[in-house]
């Protein structure tokens, strides 16, 4: 259908090319002007940190002249401070983010399949209570979480306080509330006739789940994972309560150290770290851009 409209539009567009400059400005030109202004608003903070991260002096507040000098010294320094092991923070963040986002999307996909395709008692109640439970501000469970991890750590230190595994566990606890309802929306957009036909051909429920539904919504699953990765790696509070040893921090907690102490603020190092932390996420985001809209709308718009 998109092709058909394109074919029809083609001759129209050719005609419109011959508009006078004034007419062009009044119809589309001003849109470019506003667009450019908006882009400036959107990217100047990002340009600012990029510029500061490349500014060689270890200045306290960075520089206010964009791209006054270019040097990679801050990036080199970032990896050579044993008291602030940036490389380890990066690794921790990626491990926590990847494990949690993949597992939590998988777990909520399992649940969403049950809610979307199976009929059972308590289905509506279950879905409603999931939506409700996720509204409990998890931040306020900090006291309970801290106490729980302290107790677990006494017996199994690998899952206690100051452990990456412990934090992953806590994050996974919220996975069902976070994504199930959205995922339920996607699964409902996959026609039920497809899996009914497969059933008649003798497919098992696992084959339907992995072979049909998961495969059809896979772009959306990728977006869900990305959004969940961004959410989890951006978490500051839970991570700062659970992790305290310098070598077990995540980027969100660790980078904060560069600017929290008013006497040894180091904007250059912070911005260099921020740029490195943002690059993979932003790249993936751009890569999956095409699917992000449907990922966000969660089947709310059927079109």
């Amino acid at each position: 259908m998109a092709n058909a409209t394109a074919v029809i539009e083609q001759p129209l567009k050719m005609k419109k090319k011959r508009r006078t400059p004034l007419k062009w400005f009044l119809t589309t030109g001003w849109r470019h002007l506003v667009g450019l202004a908006l882009i400036l608003y959107a990217i100047f903070p990002i340009l600012y940190i990029l510029s500061t991260s490349l500014f060689p002096n270890n200045s306290i507040e960075g520089t206010n002249t964009l791209f006054a000098a270019i040097s990679f010294q801050n990036y080199i320094n970032l990896f050579s401070d044993p008291a602030r092991p940036f490389g380890l923070w990066y690794m921790n963040t990626v491990i926590i983010g990847l494990v949690t986002s993949v597992l939590s999307v998988f777990i909520s996909a399992l649940a969403a399949y049950a809610f979307s395709r199976l009929r059972f008692r308590g289905r509506r109640g279950g879905l409603l209570s999931l939506i409700l439970i996720q509204m409990f501000p998890s931040l306020l469970g900090l006291v309970a979480i801290f106490g729980m991890l302290t107790e677990i750590g006494k017996i199994f230190p690998a899952f206690g306080l100051d452990s990456v595994l412990g934090l992953i566990m806590i994050y996974l606890g919220g996975s069902l509330g976070g994504g199930t309802y959205l995922m339920y929306g996607f699964f409902n957009t996959v026609p039920k006739e497809l899996d009914e036909a497969a059933k008649l051909d003798g497919a098992t429920h696992t084959q339907i789940f992995y072979g049909i539904i998961m495969r059809l919504v896979s772009p959306v699953l990728a977006v869900q994972m990305l959004l969940s990765y961004i959410g989890i790696t951006s978490d500051y509070v839970l991570a700062s309560v659970v992790l305290s040893k310098p070598e077990s921090l995540t980027l969100a907690v660790g980078l904060q150290q560069f600017i929290s102490d008013p006497y040894s603020k180091d904007w250059s190092m912070f911005t260099a770290g921020a740029v490195l932390a943002a690059i993979p996420v932003v790249t993936l985001f751009m890569f999956l851009q095409r699917y992000i809209v449907s990922g966000l709308l969660g089947g709310a718009v059927k079109g």
């Binding site: 990217i43 777990i107 399949y113 199976l118 006291v143 199994f156 696992t206 500051y236 985001f285």
Partner: protein, 605 residues
């Protein structure tokens, strides 16, 4: 959409049997079954290992819960049918362990006084009070302290460490051994005084075997080793962990044979002074030498105030108070209050936390302000981001415009950029004196963006607009494109103006599809802790809200976080939990009502 084929497991008449099988997932393949059993076996092996450890540690509750969970999981996955449970189990188990438990714990805590001054049992409080309830004796000698041990090394728990106390004026040297015995090294005083007076610079063992450290300045010298006791070297002293030094600092050495209550203690491990307890724990129980703390659990025990012989009895609010009487309605135990002991224990307080929230005069004004700002903040954020997003979506919703993809890619950068970084970056940009906004964009203005209430509120909204408009832009674009083109076309043919099309066709349709997302956005921003906490920290602090430290940009959740975790005036988990239960009810009710009104949940049946 009721499915006639979807029968429950109880409808097992012959006719439906084949159909029911289909909906239970068909005949499982051999490969699938083997895979399932292998996974289950691994899980069971791990669980049994964990259960074994719990059993050995006599943790019966945890053991029972673990065993029950294991049996349930095995039952669910080994029986035939029961598909929903198989798909829901992993998520539900995690949910129960880490969300529902946390929720219930908070609900329970809301009815207690749990906090930094009530964080354990009564026995723990008594133990701590015994430690803390002493004061230095006026005019006591201040001894210099040096760490020694028999071998000059430190063992694993620091139990072989002793001290040498030197009176730098009188020249008296005391050996404080690890068995809490204090022995004076008598013959040395003259020799030590001689060292002090002559200010000898060389370290020489004198006639009683003491080694002196003399480079402490004029007229000063400390004993650093004695016969049978070697000084602990700097390298060895690195082994003294915080744990060990806490233990060492807690040691009491009887200071006088005439007054048994006096003791010598070194709290910082560099000087020691004589202390006298202000309160004494009186118990009818006999002290057990193997478990000296057992008498602290005596329910009939009380603290005796040494000064006037009055009794501190356990009061109902979890404090020891004179005669157990609680003054006033919301009695706390403030600094300098002599009628109570300021280390308490956890007790249930019924509705007191809720009564504080609704009835405390000091809290009322800041709380009302914070609540109204929370609503204003969440509503304005949703409004500004949605309007901006919609405007941009309409701006780019023109087929003739070129380069839309580039515009879009650049414009969603704020959304792709990790939010915690954005908050920090904006904090730098908005700095009053050196920030980019004031310095470059406003040519050297000095607007106190983050340090005065009105600009700070404006700045918070501005930053949140930056963070949120790309999301709204994306979803409105998606929703706009989903509007059938025929609708717009037929309206155009009927002579509708673009404005009319927007108002009467596009907007109503947009709201139908986006309502759930807008409601979620409101709920999210209502609790948008990261932005407020990392950008302004809730500040600027309003100093008139004595004790509560409410700030100009504090929203409910950051305020509750302060109550729970700020170190300034003591942590009050009980009050914070009561707040969080109320916030939960507030947000949940709001969302449910709006979901119902917008009929979002109608398809869930």
């Amino acid at each position: 959409m009721t499915n006639p084929l979807a029968g429950g497991p109880d409808r097992s008449n012959v006719k439906r049997k084949t159909v029911k099988n289909l909906y239970d997932g068909g005949t499982p393949s051999l490969r699938g079954t083997l895979f399932k059993i292998t996974l289950l076996a691994i899980l069971d092996a791990v669980t049994i290992f964990v259960l074994f450890i719990l059993f050995m540690q006599h943790l019966w509750v945890a053991f029972a819960v673990g065993l029950f969970a294991m049996l349930v999981v095995n039952y669910l996955y080994l029986r035939r049918g029961g598909l929903p449970a198989k798909y829901l189990a992993p998520g539900v188990i995690l949910l129960i362990a880490f969300q529902i438990y946390v929720l219930l714990f908070s609900a329970y805590t809301a009815f207690t006084n749990y906090g930094s001054s009530h964080n354990g049992s009564e026995q723990l409080a008594v133990t701590a009070l015994n430690e803390a309830g002493s004061q230095p004796v006026d005019g006591s000698v201040q001894y210099d302290v040096h760490l020694v041990s028999a071998t000059g090394t430190v063992n694993a728990d620091g139990s072989n460490i002793g001290f040498l106390f030197t009176d730098p004026v009188g020249g008296k040297v005391l050996l404080a051994d690890p068995n809490l015995k204090l022995t004076e090294i008598p013959a040395c005083s003259t020799a030590v005084q001689q060292v002090i007076k002559t200010n000898a610079t060389t370290v020489t063992p004198d006639q009683c075997g003491l080694k002196m450290l003399t480079d402490l300045g004029p007229n000063l010298a400390d004993a650093i080793s004695a016969p049978g006791w070697k000084a602990i070297s700097i390298a060895e002293s690195n082994k003294v962990s915080t744990d060990i030094s806490n233990k060492l600092a807690g040691r009491h050495y009887p200071a006088s044979s005439s007054d048994q209550s006096l003791f010598l203690q070194t709290q910082d491990l560099t000087t020691a002074i004589t202390y006298q307890p202000q309160i004494i724990w009186v118990s009818s129980m006999k002290a057990d030498p193997n478990d000296p703390q057992a008498i602290y659990a005596d329910p009939k025990g009380y603290f005796l105030r040494v000064a006037d012989g009055k009794k501190y009895l356990p009061a109902q609010d979890g404090y020891f108070r004179i005669d157990g009487k609680i003054p006033g309605k919301f009695g706390a135990c403030g600094e300098g209050d002599a009628d109570c002991l300021n280390i308490g224990w956890e007790v249930q307080v019924g509705m007191r936390n809720f009564a504080t929230i609704f009835g405390d005069q000091q809290l009322r004004a800041p709380l009302l302000k914070i609540i109204s700002w929370t609503f204003l903040f969440a509503a304005s954020t949703v409004f500004t981001t949605f309007v901006a997003g919609l405007a941009i979506a309409l701006l780019f919703n023109d087929e003739r415009m070129k380069g839309k993809k580039i515009y879009r890619s650049l414009m969603i950068l704020p959304y792709a950029f990790p939010a915690f970084l954005s908050a920090y970056v904006w904090r730098g940009l908005l700095n009053k004196d050196e920030g980019f906004i004031n310095q470059v964009i406003l040519h050297g203005a000095h607007i106190p963006w983050l340090t005065e209430e009105t600009p700070a509120r404006f700045a918070v909204l501005l930053v949140n607009l930056w963070l949120g408009f790309p999301y709204m832009f994306l979803i409105t674009t998606g929703a706009l494109q989903a509007i059938p083109a025929e609708l717009v076309e037929s309206a155009t043919i009927d002579g509708a103006t673009p404005w009319q099309i927007l108002r009467q066709i596009k907007l109503p349709l947009l709201f139908v599809s986006l309502a759930p997302l807008l409601i979620s956005s409101f709920a999210f921003n209502f609790n948008n802790f990261t932005l407020i906490y990392l950008l302004t920290g809730g500040g600027p602090i309003d100093s008139t809200t004595s004790g509560y430290d409410a700030g100009g940009t504090d929203i409910l959740i950051t305020f509750v976080y302060k109550i729970a975790f700020s170190t300034g005036h003591g942590r009050d988990y009980g009050l914070a939990s009561a707040f969080s239960i109320l916030i939960f009810i507030l947000v949940a009710t709001f969302s449910l009502v709006s979901f119902r009104r917008t009929r979002t949940l109608e398809d869930v049946n």
